[in-house]
């Protein structure tokens, strides 16, 4: 332990000699340092989060009352499409890649990511893709208005905004694949001596599985949108019935990517929570081995359940039954994880700092989202609820309260390590409670709307849905505004605040807490000796 501390400090002193790289903007453009790149990923994702969030507020403003008030139906469709694409590919995924870049080398005692220059490229592909995606609003015909699923025939008929979305997806896919190759290689080949795979922190485990899901599924999406592109411009008929194709084929290919994508977002969130809950329970994580197997099982099963998004396409009864049971099977490893988190807290010495609050918020709300997922897995029910607000409520419980809350838990947990200062606990707690309350005001009523039959992706609705929609819209404005608080918290922590110790959380374990706060530019240039006391299990 002391040896590693010393090694960390030695790295810090050594750092002084490295001070002649490019400065200013060029420093960030040319950097190959995993911490710099992680920081850029996190800022990028926060900017995209605000852009996508603003779009969702346009959607909710339109839905505040029945009738068409502020935007045209076409623009509404573009907003909901871009909101989804930006939040999935621009905000949540880069946020967790940012965590991975910052924390994985620190957690496994590696000096940097395996392919540092490729890492730089993975990040710098993102801004062009984001510009392509958002600027498509301004081209003739506007942005893609198909929903993020881009189903043909509508996506074949859209204007050039669709092509821009397709190219943006190509670029984002390349970025994700490069990032994933980097992460897998780093984890498999650059761990400190003594850190076996089964002693590795769970965040690394979740990212290892996530990265495998990414390299297997992103090419599938790239293939699907490329076929769309050739159908649009080069006279092929992959998805056009008139030319002998089948639009349902697109749905199969899309969801063969799309379902693993759900776990690409969820698994790193599980990883963060698996660090935060033990730290604030002052206990080891309960059932480490079962956690690892549950992650692997979720990753594997996620490739075999895709058609549960397609119950109403006329798939035969045998298919419906298989996909229903396979989908329900995912609840088993997920249930194992929830059980283990709860059991980790059992008889723990709990304290409720902001990271823990967000982790607990995640635990409660993600479980609600998981339960509605089980409801939707049932074919007979899903045929009724397909494309209603029940589905919208379900996936916002797992995406926002799942992925976003977990990202906030990670942000507050590791912010002292990144900035060297403790954040303002009062503001952090305020941020949590406002998020928690407004999130539920926004999305809980949407369950009722869906059960009553309100369809999604339509800017107008029948009078009887007016009250719940108004509640939901008011909640969303509150949620949107309260997210700006995190900006205040982060800026305050960057500028100053109480000095953070190397290990600011007494219950936290792992190599990342053996380096000083803020983490020096270069760490673990000599591999540390892994102390089993730092292991998670």
């Amino acid at each position: 332990m002391q040896a590693t501390q010393a090694a960390g400090h030695a790295g810090h002193h050594d750092d002084a000699g490295h001070g002649h790289g490019p400065t200013g903007l060029m420093r960030w453009i040319t950097t190959t340092n995993h911490k710099d790149i992680g920081t850029m990923y996190l800022w990028f994702s926060f900017v995209m989060f605000l852009v996508g969030g603003a779009m969702s507020l346009i959607i909710r403003a339109e839905l505040l009352s029945p009738g068409l008030q502020y935007v045209s139906p076409e623009f509404y469709n573009q907003m909901l499409t871009l909101h989804a694409l930006i939040m999935v590919f621009g905000a949540i995924m880069p946020a967790f890649v940012g965590f991975a870049n910052w924390m994985i080398p620190l957690m496994i005692g590696a000096p940097d990511m395996a392919f540092a220059r490729m890492n730089n490229w993975s990040f710098w592909l993102l801004p062009p893709a984001a510009i392509l995606l958002t600027s498509s609003i301004f081209v003739p015909g506007g942005a893609a208005g198909t929903g993020w699923t881009m189903y043909p025939p509508l996506s074949v008929q859209m204007g050039m905004g669709m092509d821009m979305a397709i190219f943006a997806i190509h670029i984002l896919g390349m970025s994700s694949i490069m990032g994933s190759i980097n992460i897998i290689t780093t984890i498999l080949n650059m761990r400190a001596p003594g850190m076996t795979l089964m002693k590795m922190p769970l965040f690394c485990w979740t990212w290892l599985v996530t990265a495998f899901l990414l390299i297997a599924s992103m090419p599938i999406l790239a293939g699907a949108v490329t076929m769309l592109l050739t159908d649009r411009h080069f006279g092929t008929s992959f998805f056009s019935a008139a030319g002998g194709g089948d639009p349902v084929l697109f749905q199969h290919i899309f969801w063969f990517f799309g379902h693993p994508e759900v776990y690409i977002i969820a698994l790193p969130a599980f990883g963060v929570v698996s660090h935060v809950i033990p730290a604030f329970s002052r206990k080891h994580l309960f059932g480490y081995t079962s956690m690892v197997y549950a992650i692997a099982a979720i990753g594997l099963i996620s490739f075999f359940v895709w058609a549960h998004h397609m119950y109403v396409t006329g798939i035969p009864l045998t298919g419906q039954l298989y996909f229903m049971y396979a989908t329900m099977l995912i609840a088993v490893p997920t249930g194992v994880k929830v059980f283990n988190w709860v059991t980790t807290m059992w008889r723990g010495s709990l304290s409720f700092e902001t990271p823990m609050l967000f982790a607990l918020g995640f635990l409660v709300l993600f479980t609600i989202g998981g339960l509605t997922g089980l409801v939707l897995a049932m074919t007979a029910v899903d045929i009724q609820l397909q494309d209603t607000y029940y589905v919208v409520a379900h996936f916002h419980y797992v995406m926002v309260a799942g992925a976003l809350f977990s990202a906030y838990a990670g942000l507050y947990f590791w912010l002292p390590k990144w900035t060297g200062h403790m954040y303002n606990e009062t503001l952090g707690k305020l941020h949590f409670w406002l998020s928690m309350i407004f999130f539920n005001i926004t999305f809980f009523p949407q369950h009722f709307l869906g059960l009553a039959g309100m369809p999604r992706r339509i800017p107008d609705y029948a009078q009887q849905f007016a009250d719940f929609n108004m509640i939901s819209s008011i909640g969303s404005f509150g949620f949107g505004i309260s997210q700006l608080l995190v900006l205040v918290v982060v800026f305050k922590a960057i500028k100053g605040g109480p000095k953070a110790a190397a290990r600011p959380w007494e219950g936290a374990r792992g190599l990342e807490w053996t380096v000083p706060s803020p983490a020096p530019h270069h760490t673990f240039e000599e591999p540390p000796v892994f102390d089993p006391a730092e292991a998670h299990a």
Binding site: D112, A114, A192, P193
Partner: protein, 204 residues
């Protein structure tokens, strides 16, 4: 390679407990394997259209028309006369069907061509809107492909043949023996041109 630059002092032995390969070589070997997964995944998706078709034919699954076919297979096909008509709205488009009338049977695929000539010196953007006689026969004209699904752009003096492919549903009421399919070409005013034309007609 970058790693080695960052770690000039790192010996393979130092990290031997966790991995047996020197880092740079090991990294490259792992990355090559992962790249193979990516390529495999790309190959997998590129054969999907063929696999999907083969699977559907082999299994008979995804035949979503089967119930419909069972219901309609009991209805015998019967002869119907089709008449084709075309109008344009004083917009310089000369528009006419290439077949005036056709004797067909219900349930068979009908393919007819319409010819459009742009008589003006400017580019014209237009969209054809269908109507049916008798009106309620419209619901039984199941279009597979139609020039009316999209806005069409005609260069100055361009002449173009455009197809409409459809099936006359066997459930066509017995009292209908002649169906008239009439299209009117409207010019789309400049400024409201939309490339994402998805009018109700595209729902067949």
């Amino acid at each position: 390679m970058d790693v080695q630059r960052l770690n000039p002092g790192l010996s393979p032995d130092g990290a031997a407990a966790a991995h047996s390969l020197p880092r740079a070589t090991g990294n490259r070997r792992i990355a090559a394997g992962l790249l193979a997964v990516v390529v495999g995944s790309l190959l997998f998706v590129s054969v999907q259209p063929r696999l999907y078709r083969a699977f559907c034919e082999w299994s008979g699954l995804y035949d979503i028309d089967r119930a419909e076919q069972l219901a309609t297979s009991l209805i015998p096909a019967r002869p119907v006369t089709l008449e084709f008509d075309a109008n344009s709205h004083d917009n310089g488009l000369r528009f006419r069907p290439e077949t005036a009338s056709l004797a067909v049977k219900t349930g068979e695929i009908v393919n007819v061509m319409y010819r459009v000539e742009n008589t003006r010196d400017v580019t014209v953007i237009g969209q054809a809107v269908p109507s049916y006689g008798p009106q309620h026969a419209g619901g039984y004209v199941k279009k597979l492909e139609c020039f009316c699904f999209k806005q069409q752009t005609f260069a100055p003096h361009e002449v173009r043949d455009m197809p409409v492919v459809f099936v006359l549903d066997k459930k066509l009421p017995d009292d209908v023996n002649t169906v008239t399919l009439s299209y009117t070409f409207f010019e789309v005013p400049a400024g409201s041109v939309k490339s994402s034309a998805a009018p109700a007609e595209s729902r067949m």
